[in-house]
């Protein structure tokens, strides 16, 4: 992927892992969620996914931009956005079906207030427009809008990222800081704000994009410096040393009030709190330096399924969102015992892998049309015109 050396499998692996973690984390009430990244450091799989998405998007579309010009690249970016948009609308339709079904069957007045969740069915002319404009984000529908908005900005910013990366980074950081200080966040319908504030999260996505674009031209010298790496290691070590005991205390149900207040104050996911951001950047730097592109574990038997999921990230991501909702419904219908949680989670991960495997197979098969590959999650191939 980088300057014709072939795909960087590390990106596929970690993105695949992030997708699996996101699925597990999004099943409400899932004990297995204690095995994911967010329990070891202050950031979680959401940061990994957003950052790597920015990075790979810049590598793929930046390569296209260099070869075919900004307009061509912008069109490819928007084509990818369109796929995500269709997936978002699809999830909306499923949610609406589920809500209508519930509304039709539940006459128990005891839950009259809860049934306020169906209020949008009374004004479909508004609800549909709000869903189409991404501002209707009911439960389980708040992740795709962020990804769509972030990716869409690349259509415009790609040429700037290539030529004036520093300017883009400064502007992006300024918006982030302003968001932290003034706490603004676009509102949603019928009430509330974006669960992932796009004005805060854009910094992580664009930082990934800037680094990804720079990797096409030999990388960033600053990050190769020993003292910078040492600083990242120190930050990461400190974060792990604080976070792990907190998780253990929480699991033992022994969290003192001060600690709960502390983790709550710094764990601002909606606004991507500074600690989450710094922790993640240090983690990314350390992992990217220590794990080499030809690391042996990437070729392990158990790594392969993860790599395949990362390679087909778009479809796996959309399926994962749907599956975590399906898993939630399953846990509601049966019960939320550990056995059920475990089987539902395992079934979901297997389904995600199967989908990725099928897509992978359909694309790498000899004779599969290479023409449709542009903007696919097989960037190395498209940029070089096939294997």
């Amino acid at each position: 992927m980088m300057s014709g050396e072939g795909r960087d499998v590390r990106l596929d692996f970690f993105r695949g892992l992030a997708l699996i973690f996101i699925f597990v984390d999004h099943i409400p009430d899932n004990l297995l969620a204690y095995t994911t990244l967010g329990n070891v450091v202050f950031s979680d799989a959401a940061e990994v996914f957003v950052f790597i998405s920015g990075y790979t998007a810049a590598v793929v579309f930046g390569g296209l931009e260099r070869k075919h010009g900004p307009l061509f690249a912008a069109v490819q970016v928007l084509r990818r956005c369109w796929s995500l948009y269709v997936a978002h609308i699809f999830v909306f339709i499923i949610f609406t079906a589920q809500v209508s079904w519930t509304a039709e069957r539940t006459n128990n007045q005891m839950f009259a207030e809860e049934m306020g969740v169906v209020a949008f069915l009374a004004e479909p002319h508004i609800a549909v427009i709000r869903a189409l404009s991404l501002s209707f984000q009911p439960a389980f529908m708040n992740i795709l809008p962020l990804y769509i908005v972030l990716l869409a900005t690349l259509a415009v910013l790609l040429p700037l990222i290539a030529r004036q990366p520093r300017t883009v980074l400064i502007a992006s950081a300024a918006i982030y800081v302003a968001t932290q200080v003034f706490r603004f966040n676009p509102s949603t319908y019928p009430a509330g704000v974006w669960f992932f504030n796009p004005l805060a999260w854009q910094l992580l996505f664009l930082a990934g994009a800037i680094l990804g674009r720079a990797s096409l031209d030999g990388g960033v010298a600053f990050l190769a410096r020993r003292d910078v790496f040492a600083a990242s290691c120190a930050i990461l070590a400190l974060c792990v040393a604080v976070r792990v005991p907190l998780t253990i205390l929480y699991l033992l149900d022994r969290s003192p009030a001060e600690i709960v207040a502390f983790t709550r104050a710094i764990g601002d996911k909606t606004g991507l709190g500074p600690l989450r951001l710094i922790n993640f950047l240090a983690l990314a730097h350390v992992v990217a330096t220590l794990v080499r592109r030809d690391s042996r574990f990437l070729a392990w038997r158990w790594s392969k399924p993860v790599v395949v999921c990362g390679r087909q990230s778009l479809a796996v991501f959309c399926l994962g969102i749907f599956l975590s909702y399906a898993a939630h419904v399953a846990l509601t219908e049966v019960n939320h015992s550990f056995v059920i949680q475990l089987s539902v989670t395992a079934a979901g991960v297997v389904l995600m892998y199967l989908l990725a495997r099928i897509l992978d197979w359909s694309k790498t098969r000899p004779g599969a049309r290479p023409s449709g590959r542009i903007g696919a999650s097989a960037p190395g191939q498209s940029a070089q015109g096939g294997k």
Binding site: P28, N108, E113, G192, D268, C318, N335, A376
Partner: protein, 257 residues
């Protein structure tokens, strides 16, 4: 490629959806689960106690306890036979039975469909003016239904708790109701978590109604999904009565310690 990858993806999703929709009507077959007289109190609730220093002092000195129930629809008693069957009214008689030498009064100051913010806005007039010793604050449903940022819920609760404790009033929080049909379309988890965090931070007891009702449902003592008319009114009364009796156990144990 996006279109092709998407269509395969969508096909897989459609299959999963089909499985999901067919799984759901299973509810309809289960009938006649109307929470019997025993109330099926969860074992983990048995030893729960709240931290009620002011109320305990008042009970000891003045032999009386003034309680305000602040809340939303389920505190008003929506779906039941009336105000006398709502959990605050039932709590009064349950407490009177457990603490015969104490004069207990409970004022129901709930209004339907209220957010924490709306309840804080009327706290001066509706709660503080009544000079209660204890406020039982039922909340979270409005926030969960509208899927707002869960931090709004915990921030509001912390603010309200601080206001009340500064005036020497003890607080007990009560979280949301549970039923399968509503849990399918509302993601309650983050709001239950936000409430328990607020309680932990201020050392305020959170009565875990959501977990209690979920245990009833999963152990098949009750099924809310197929009840209508008189049957559903009777069931609502029963639920409110059981909730009140559990809550009375906790309060009595906390005052007697």
């Amino acid at each position: 490629m996006p279109s092709r990858s998407m269509s395969t993806g969508l096909a897989a999703i459609a299959l999963a959806l089909a499985a999901l929709t067919f799984a759901a009507p299973g509810n309809v077959a289960r009938a006649d689960k109307n929470l019997d007289e025993s109330c099926h109190k969860p074992v983990w609730l048995e030893d729960d106690q709240a931290y009620l220093p002011h109320a305990a002092k008042r009970v000891k000195q003045a032999r009386r306890l003034r309680v305000v129930a602040l809340g939303s629809s389920s505190t008003v008693g929506t779906g039941g036979s009336g105000a006398a069957a709502a959990w605050p009214a039932r709590l009064q008689s349950e407490l009177a039975r457990r603490l015969p030498e104490i004069e207990v009064s409970i004022l129901n100051k709930a209004l339907p469909r209220q957010s924490v913010r709306q309840m804080i806005d009327r706290m001066t007039a509706d709660v503080e003016a009544e000079r209660p010793d204890l406020v039982i604050w039922e909340a979270g449903t409005s926030e969960a239904v509208r899927a707002v940022d869960p931090d709004l819920l915990s921030d509001g609760l912390l603010e309200g708790i601080d206001r009340l404790t500064q005036r020497g009033v003890d607080v007990i929080l009560m979280d949301m109701q549970y039923a399968r049909p509503t849990a399918r379309v509302i993601n309650f988890d983050p709001y239950v978590e936000a409430m328990s965090q607020a309680g932990l931070i201020r050392n305020v007891y959170v009565f875990a109604r959501h977990a209690v009702m979920r245990e009833w449902v999963e152990d098949e003592h009750v099924d809310f999904s197929d009840k209508q008319g008189a049957e559903s009114i009777a069931l609502a009364d029963r639920v409110y009565a059981c909730i009140a009796s559990f809550l009375a156990d906790v309060i009595a144990a906390s005052l007697n310690r």
